[in-house]
Amino acid sequence: MDESWVQTLQAAPDIWAVFLQARRRDAHVYVGDVHASDAEMALLLAKENYARRDPCVSLWVVPARDIRATSGDAAEMFAPVTDKSYRFGGSYRQQQRVYRGGYQTAAADGDETR
């Protein structure tokens, strides 16, 4: 198996990546890191450091070292070689709605309709 394009983030064990969900049904978006001894402390600190000004309904924290990433030299895989505009479909609203959402935490599983 070729794993040369997969890498582990180089981060200290106390670095936690913070993901913020601004509104229900939005995806959690990476907003930065916190130093913390454990997950509970990471959530506690993330709340005041990333959610004190902007809207937020849910936070995720993940040990940065547990994130797997594509390596730098894999970047060219993402670049289109031929015209792919037929795939874009930006005007399809249903597709946009499907793309939003992702994993929902228990608290975010409301009765809202999509």
């Binding site: 130093h35 454990d38 509970e40 506690l44 600190l45 709340k47 005041e48």
Partner: protein, 267 residues
Amino acid sequence: MSAPAVAIADPAVRAAFREWLLRVADDELTIGHRHSEWTGVGPDIESDVAMSSIAQEELGHARLFYEQVAGDDPGGADRLAYGRAPDDYRNAVLLELPNQGWEFSIIRLALYEAYEGLRLGLLARCGQEPVAGLAATLGREERYHGLFASTWLERLAGAPHGDAGGTAGPRAKVQAALDAAWPYALGFFETTEADEVLLGAGVLTQPAAQQRESWEAAVRPLLARCHLTVPVAAPRDGGRRGLHTADLTQLHREMTEVWRSDPEARW
């Protein structure tokens, strides 16, 4: 929207209610200023930001209660906050003490937030609007303050993530901080004639002795979880009667400095 303010007819009850609100506001003002002293020197940048944020919120709560006391008097809230002499303040002495160390600030925050939660509950049931509605709303913000204190305290004391015990470890420092803070924390429950008046009028629904029981029932499990021993000590009070330490004089000088430079200024 909160209901319009209804003035209490009986002047004695009105004065007692005012005194209660001043205790709340003075408590929030003094601990808010002490917390703000961590800005820039917290143990890590994240906790520094969080503690500073808590400080801002305590000062914000103080302002809301000063405004309740000041009523329509323009600039009245500022004058109450910064224009009185130290012996006019009614805060519990614990809250004016210097930070000493992070563990002391965390212990103090934990002890205070448990009390503050209880007191906001009592204010929410005082039957006086808009104070009651205000108290119910503020409780939501205080929840994070309590979480911040207990989460930090559990880690400083080494529970439940391993053993920080021993006589020289972090837990020993936390125990020393608890020993120092506890007698002053009992000063939360100091009473004056105002308490009798408020109880008689049904504005206050729980006497101080019962408040202390509820408070201990809230803090003792947390302290036990942290393997901390609650000291046996007599209350060190006085704050509710205006008897303060030199630490308040120092704090007062510093926090009123800008206001004193021009008391008539509108901010």
